[in-house]
């Protein structure tokens, strides 16, 4: 047995030896039965490791996972119609809304700005102007929805069904947020929630349309 080469056999198996070393090792293999046998075993180990079966956990882990998912990320949930905030929270939320509305939504839409777009600024009475950016988002969603309707035949029917179910869920969340905003138009949380939900629908539409387009 030649320990020097025995220790290099894995590198040989993996094709990581330089040409000169590889030639020297192959010359050694021609005369060393022990190294040849070990080399064969190592190749079998590599093949065996690549053929390992994945095994399921003994118990279903989903209930524990589901319980830990952040409920706030669900688009269809407005957990309360009554909200109370302290002044710093309201200021922070208002700033976040303006940034999100004037910046994030415009960037997310990523399309030429039609003339109907306007600056998003808090109204003089302190209420936040959500009408402009929601109408802008509505138009973008409608455009993307048209694209989806044209391209959905490229997707599996189960895909279309899942996507439409998701649209329905998101649409319900948007409708709920708008109803709540009618009663409380200056509510920063509701404005943020509506913007976030519409952004989710835009992103989903873009993704589905990209997948459908790629199927051609």
């Amino acid at each position: 047995m030649n320990d020097q080469w025995m220790d290099r056999l894995s590198e040989y198996v993996d094709g990581e030896l330089a040409a000169e070393e590889r030639a020297s090792l192959e010359a050694h293999l021609a005369t060393c039965a022990a190294c040849r046998a070990t080399l064969e075993d190592l190749r079998k180990v590599v093949a065996r490791s690549r053929a390992l079966d994945d095994r399921a956990p003994k118990a279903d882990l989903w209930p524990g996972i589901h319980a830990r998912l952040t409920p706030g990320r669900r688009p269809g949930v407005i957990r309360s119609r009554r909200f109370s905030f302290n002044v710093p929270q309201l200021i922070a939320a208002s700033i976040a809304l303006v940034v999100l509305s004037a910046g994030g939504m415009w960037v997310a839409l990523n399309q030429p700005q039609p003339a109907r777009d306007a600056q998003v600024t808090p109204r003089p009475d302190g209420q936040l102007n959500s009408v402009v950016w929601t109408s802008r988002s509505d138009a973008a969603i409608a455009d993307l929805q048209d694209v989806f309707e044209r391209n959905k035949s490229r997707l599996d029917t189960s895909t279309v069904r899942v996507v439409q179910q998701a649209f329905a869920t998101i649409d319900r969340a948007i409708a709920e947020a708008r109803i709540a905003l009618k009663a409380d138009p200056g509510n920063a949380y509701l404005n943020l929630h509506l913007a976030d939900t519409m952004r989710r629908k835009l992103e989903l539409l873009r993704r589905v349309n990209a997948i459908a387009t790629a199927q051609s």
């Binding site: 894995s10 075993d41 180990v45 065996r48 399921a56 989903w62 269809g76 189960s158 998701a166």
Partner: protein
């Protein structure tokens, strides 16, 4: 099907837990197997849950450049390695003094113990085990493994060779 998984990923990223559950059902066996092979079996369930919760939290960063399974698997490796750091199990494992050949062969010589390949893998010392799983089972390169584990590539190669030499005794089990 690829388009369904892609859309499920998008739906989950939009907050759809049902879509995320479908992704979980598709990938849980692979993730659980990875975690079980890299850590102790009794931690596999908890760590697998951590992986999926982390994936849910980070789904918004998934842009579809790779398959969701690839992205999830990389995330799982990161969660496992972070867990190892928390446990401190990696300390001293790469500095020698823990010969996988001796470790496994001692078990093998006990006649009443019959281990299959997976069980033998679990008896490897942590360093050799991590490298073997990452390289031979998961397909990472030595340079990547060295970065992940904080060792030099030569150490990764050495650990891999020792692990293979130990495991060859279990090929027929």
């Amino acid at each position: 099907m690829a388009d369904a998984e892609a859309v499920d990923t998008a739906l989950a990223a939009s907050g759809d837990a049902s879509a995320f559950e479908r992704l979980y059902r598709t990938h849980v066996n692979r993730v659980h197997s990875l975690v079980r092979r890299m850590l102790d079996a009794d931690e596999a369930d908890d760590l697998t849950q951590d992986v999926f919760v982390r994936a849910w939290e980070k789904l918004h960063t998934f842009r579809g450049e790779s398959a969701f399974g690839t992205w999830l698997h990389r995330l799982a490796v990161n969660v496992v390695l972070a867990r190892r750091k928390t446990l401190g199990v990696e300390r001293g494992r790469f500095q020698g003094g823990d010969d996988p050949l001796e470790h496994v062969s001692a078990r093998r010589e006990t006649p009443e113990i019959s281990m299959d390949f997976e069980e033998a893998l679990a008896t490897l010392p942590d360093g050799a085990r991590q490298v073997f799983v990452l390289h031979d089972v998961e397909g990472y390169r030595h340079e990547e493994i060295a970065r992940m584990l904080g060792v030099v590539p030569g150490t990764s190669k050495s650990q891999l060779h020792h692990a293979r030499m130990a495991l060859r005794r279990y090929l027929d089990q």
